[in-house]
């Protein structure tokens, strides 16, 4: 039940929501469910359940951030409020420290905003280890500062105000360093490529290679998915199987008789093996049929494509952009939508036939074609530019959102998903009708040696046939 828990972590810290997911099955996750409908309803239930835990995480993160921000101010204000008369006056050094505190807090605010307050791009199934670590660190820091403050300053009513202000400044410095640590852990560490991931789609074998740095398995999965939507050609279930005419019934001709044997317990595998072996030896010409079928299909596609290209080219010659100096009857002036509708009729039939031959017709509705045509006309595109969307299967993100952009993916992994990537790790990203199998290889360690080539050392001679008289 490896459901992606919809919990986001925009704040500094990402918290105990990991404990409340339904994913915890020891240290491994396996997705075994075969029934789409029950899975979909279960997804909806889970997402509803985990919403509040996500909000809990965000709330906790925000609270801790607020606490961390306000603590230095509190440190500086409390003595002024409680025992103002007893404080030693503190002139220029304190003012300098006040200014530095103000600016450091401002920088911290901007930095935190830049780093943490972003729209989350994915919901991870498990807690994000680094964020949890940082949250714990900040919490411990603030708590220990408060502890010392309470004991040393509040209880004893320390008079040295400059010391108190410096104490507050040191906390702000420590928070800035924690922010630096956050930048390094969350952003910088994964930038240098260390591994090559190969992603293969299980249904049709489309594959890509990606270079990533040190990431945990779940983060690597998100990275792969982000790239999947613009690299992989769209999954077309109609293109998967060999046509039925080609796959003849191979094992129909054989029956196995056992002569004189009474015990059939261990004969079943033997029988099936014998049938398979006999079928393999029998001469079958299905490969021939496959070849001719492919060639015929190829020819048909090319013919339709030629007709489509010609039709579109011709259609585009019927309209042109209105120049300012042309004087035209206002009734004849069209906006892009109308222009598109005007020329669509002449290419509609050729387009439909082509899409049907290449089995793409579920992906393009008439409305979508019209919209694309309008778009191309507006931007002065040529017929070829208009057709590039249809002549080759584009990446998934190109098609209409509702149909093909699914957000629910399941991560199947034998190792805990918060583990880092290592050489040889394999995990699977599943949708209900296909899956992406991802394997990891470490980028080799390169030994680069240098060789100096003197520019003057490039010398050549002619290859001649010399003739010597003897």
């Amino acid at each position: 039940m490896g459901v992606m828990a919809p919990a986001s972590t925009p704040g500094l810290e990402d918290d105990n929501w990991g404990e409340t997911t339904t994913v915890v099955t020891g240290t491994s996750e396996h997705s075994i469910s075969h029934d789409d409908i029950t899975r979909i309803t279960k997804d909806m239930e889970d997402s509803a359940h985990l919403d509040c835990s996500r909000h809990l995480g965000v709330a906790l993160a925000g609270a801790l951030a607020l606490l961390a921000f306000l603590t230095p101010l509190a440190f500086m204000l409390l003595p002024q409020l409680l025992w103002r008369e007893e404080l030693e006056p503190c002139g220029t050094p304190c003012e300098g420290l006040f200014i530095s505190v103000a600016f450091k807090l401002l920088i911290l605010l901007l930095g935190s905003w830049a780093l943490f307050f972003r729209r989350p791009k994915a919901f991870f199934p498990r807690v994000f280890v680094f964020r949890a670590l940082l949250m714990v660190l900040v919490f411990l820091l603030v708590v220990s500062y408060w502890l010392f403050y309470g004991v040393r300053i509040l209880d004893s009513r320390d008079r040295n105000y400059q010391g108190i202000v410096q104490y507050a400044v040191s906390l702000v410095d420590a928070l800035l360093f924690v922010h630096y640590l956050a930048v390094v852990l969350l952003e910088l560490r994964q930038l240098q490529p260390q591994f090559t991931l190969k992603a293969v789609r299980s249904t049709d074998g489309a594959s890509r290679f990606y270079n990533v740095g040190h990431l945990s398995i779940q983060r690597a999965a998100i990275w792969i998915l982000e790239n999947y939507y613009h690299d992989f050609p769209v999954y077309n279930p109609a293109l998967l199987n060999l046509p039925k005419s080609v796959l003849s019934k191979k094992m129909s001709g054989f029956k196995v008789y056992s002569l004189g044997e009474e015990n059939t317990t261990n004969n079943s595998t033997g029988q099936s093996r014998a049938v398979i072996a006999a079928a393999a030896r029998r001469r079958d010409n299905s490969h021939n049929e496959y070849y001719y079928e492919e060639a015929e299909h190829e020819r048909r596609v090319r013919k339709r494509r030629a007709r489509l290209v010609v039709a579109v080219e011709e259609a585009f010659t019927h309209i042109k952009r209105l120049q300012d100096e042309d004087q035209k009857n206002p009734r004849e002036i069209m906006d892009p939508r109308e222009a598109a509708q005007a020329i669509f009729a002449s290419m509609a039939r050729a387009m439909q036939k082509y899409l049907r031959t290449t089995k793409q017709q579920p992906y393009h509705t008439m409305e979508s074609i019209l919209q694309h045509l309008e778009f191309c006309i507006t931007h002065d595109m040529t017929p070829k530019a208009f057709l590039e969307r249809y002549l080759s299967a584009g990446p998934t993100i190109q098609y209409h959102k509702d149909r093909w952009l699914a957000k629910q993916w399941t991560l199947v992994s034998e190792e805990p998903v918060t583990n880092g990537l290592k050489d040889g790790v394999v995990f699977v990203l599943k949708r209900h009708d296909f899956s992406l199998v991802i394997s990891t290889k470490k980028i080799p360690f390169f030994k680069l040696s240098e060789e100096f080539v003197d520019p003057k050392s490039h010398k050549f001679v002619m290859r001649l046939q010399s003739e010597t008289s003897v």
């Binding site: 046939q465 010399s466 003739e467 010597t468 008289s469 003897v470």
Partner: protein
């Protein structure tokens, strides 16, 4: 280097062609002033470009070929013809030598007679014609 031994390898036989396609030619050197001349020019060698050889059938053949024969010289008298490939000189192999080594083998000062083993395309054709008729 393989070929720079003091004893000529007389036992060496050219394995690529049977004996009736080769001819033995004995040239007596002519003394001209301080030099002994043979009266022909050679081309080829393993350090040369074999594709420029006009006489070879196989353009990767890096052997030594006779490119010119002076009229009335010792080589013409002995029967050497232009386009002959020299296989051996006094027992020394000439199929895998550099151009300069070939020249040196032919112009040894202490030798007055050189015995060449040559092969010729016209010989091959003659034999083939006689075999076919």
């Amino acid at each position: 280097m393989l070929c720079d031994s003091s004893v000529p390898p007389t036992a060496f036989r050219s394995v690529s062609q049977p004996s009736y396609l080769q001819q033995r030619i004995e040239i007596h050197k002519l003394r001209q002033g301080d030099n002994l001349i043979l009266g022909f020019s050679i081309g080829g060698g393993i350090d040369q470009d074999p594709t420029q050889n006009p006489f070879s059938e196989d353009k990767t053949d890096k052997g030594i070929y006779v490119t010119r024969v002076t009229e009335g010289g010792p080589a013409e008298i002995a029967g050497l013809q232009i386009g002959d490939k020299i296989m051996q000189v006094n027992g020394w192999d000439m199929t895998m030598v550099t151009h300069d080594q070939a020249r040196k083998r032919l112009t040894k000062r202490n030798e007055e007679v050189v015995r060449l083993l040559v092969t010729r395309q016209s010989l091959q054709k003659a034999v083939q014609q006689s075999m076919m008729s």
